[in-house]
Symmetry: C2
Subunit: 385 residues, 2 copies
């Protein structure tokens, strides 16, 4: 039998075309050119415009959220969602250790401290069982909610992130958030199109956030959105993300400290065209999953990540999980695949291992630490199958 | 003689075409459609791409700065410039009271406190004479620099803003910054194309910042840039604005807390086309100034703002200054002009009068308070003359 890195390159080549294959590239085969041309011709390329309104309505309709507020990127969406949930300087917010750095950064921007929790093997997202145990022995109840027994700081919110598009165990996490009076904010940056028990991710918490970065399932160049069923929070999100300027015929009165976080109309025009194609993108990604499953079926020491039970994943990034026994070959596999022009990557460096977050509070993280050694993301673009 | 509001409407109509005239609308008559189409066709619409590099080079070349770093908007540019200048939580930063709220917000986002200073009538920007007096009696020198005698906080930076495109008295402000060991960061959001003694605004301080919002002289939909002659600071700006991720073939290692502040390639494509037309826009704006000067020549109680001596202004927003004697008619003039479809607006609400900034430290602000009663911005788009 050939060495594992060679076998993985061969399995990938059995699915993918010859030549270099990026990890995830966008696909513009719908109305992108037409909408963007129309946007420029209208001269409304910036803060206001018909495409922003249309994109927000389409996102709300697609996700089932009552409202969607388009913003400049997913990080900004999460920062504003956390602020709307009441997160303040001096608070702690529970986030997974296994996530992209934006999740922790959004907490930090508000002067709060991320508190890292472990992941579950079946979803790659926050593990509610481990978290329940951790909260039970490391926190205490207060009149306002929950306090970290060690740091003395209030724990204000819980931010599950749907890793690579696979939904977390939301029922259990919502129960925990309820018990400990934590605001539940879903970081659905990676999970546009993913559903948990039939309902779209990002619509379970008080607020949820999406990302339309260039590497995401659909892209606006750069962009994001806040989802919520609460009209008052949605209006407040719009206010905060447009510099908190009160409507007035000519006066510039800002009644609180807001942000310049609006999505330009130009980017929303691209988003409208992309969203029209989302069902096709999702179908293509599921076909790719089926092909990868076939290709890797005979390869014992690896498994392809599949959607958790009761969930429909968008398969944003296809994910190979190495058995612990072969995890030391991770870098050899990354080298072999990338050398072959097949772009792969490992999981992110875990948050508690990044220099700026080394001293933050954290639960034991055995699963996240294993997964970081075991995960390899594979080429995943829509259109590959 | 007709009442002043009527006379002003008549003067404006003598210059402008019939029908509604916005305050400032963008103009897309160059390569905008071509570059944006090319950008979409390339699939590189997001974080990396040839237009971002090209836009940065073109901005550096145009402004004379050694480097330009494109970012998502002018607010983000200022926030990062201030951080690079060493502004930290607990510091104070001197900014004009007469500015758009973004100047103060950028200071606040870093956990620092804006400290408001007065404006000069001849430039509408920070008055170095009043500021010198204020610093002399309200601050004390420390081993590290300057401290606010009243609050006890370090004053770290000085941020002149070139109001409506008119350059501040930079020589005197630079001397003050030097004497008090304050970092000079120019908020040149409004002054792309404006020069002080022949040199482009935004290139005098340690760092300068630009904005390409939809209402600016050129637009990228939303966007901004950081200018600097310091290669090390420019590299650091690029690093901070791209999540502080270290270059690596596949690893996600972020060595400090950065931001998702990159300008998407799609927006940079628009910017490249806009920048090509900037000389035409500036020429058109100067023609408009000449026409407004003629139209308002006979109207004693108002004067049209002209570029300060030794300066070349971009005339981003044309500005009428009412004599104090008729300043109480400001709202009547705003009503009459807007009712006539001629969009005008007053100056921003002064920063120390905004609810979130009411309790910030401030110098006496008599000139800013007068100017806020006297300023009316007029329709100013390129292409009106």
């Amino acid at each position: 039998m050939s060495p594992l890195p060679t076998a993985i390159v061969a399995a990938l080549r059995a699915v993918l075309a010859d030549g270099p294959v990026p990890l995830h590239e966008p696909r513009f085969q719908g109305n992108e050119q037409r909408y963007v041309q129309d946007c420029i011709a209208s001269t409304f390329v910036s803060s206001v415009g018909a495409y922003v309104d249309r994109f927000e309505r389409a996102l709300a309709e697609y996700s089932g959220a009552r409202r969607a507020v388009a913003v400049v990127n997913g990080t900004a969406a999460l920062q504003v969602a956390l602020r709307l949930a009441g997160v303040q300087a001096g608070d702690e917010v529970i986030v997974p250790a296994l996530t992209f750095v934006a999740t922790a950064n959004a907490v930090h921007y508000l002067g709060a401290t991320p508190h890292f929790a472990d992941s579950a093997e079946d979803s790659l997202g926050l593990d509610p069982i481990a978290l329940k145990d951790w909260l039970a022995h490391s926190t205490e109840r207060t009149a306002e909610g929950t306090r970290n027994r060690h740091s003395g700081r209030p724990i204000r919110a819980l931010v599950p992130m749907h890793t690579f598009g696979h939904p977390c165990d939301l029922d259990a996490l919502m129960a925990l958030a309820h018990d400990y009076r934590l605001a539940l904010i879903e970081d659905a940056a990676e999970s546009l199109g993913s559903r948990y028990h039939g309902r779209h991710t990002g619509t379970f918490g008080l607020l949820g956030t999406l990302s339309f970065n260039g590497n995401k399932t659909i892209t606006t160049g750069g962009g994001g959105a806040i989802l919520t069923d609460d009209e008052r929070l949605a209006d407040h999100a719009k206010h905060l993300t447009t510099t908190a300027k009160r409507p007035h015929r000519w006066e510039y009165l800002h009644d609180e400290i807001g942000y310049n976080f609006r999505l330009p109309n130009l980017n929303a025009a691209l988003g409208c065209a992309q969203l029209e194609q989302l069902p096709d993108f999702l179908a293509s990604k599921r076909r790719l999953t089926a092909r990868y499953l076939d290709a890797f079926a005979g390869l014992e020491p690896v498994r392809l990540m599949q959607e958790p039970p009761g969930c429909e994943s968008n398969y944003w990034l296809q994910t190979l999980i190495l058995d612990e026994a072969v995890a030391e070959q991770r870098d050899a596999i990354l080298t072999a695949t990338n050398d072959a022009g097949l772009m792969t990557r490992p999981a992110w460096t875990l948050m508690h291992q990044l220099p700026p977050y080394r001293d933050c509070p954290r639960a034991p993280l055995p699963v996240a630490e294993s997964l970081a050694r075991q995960i390899i993301n594979l080429p995943s673009s829509a259109g590959l199958a």
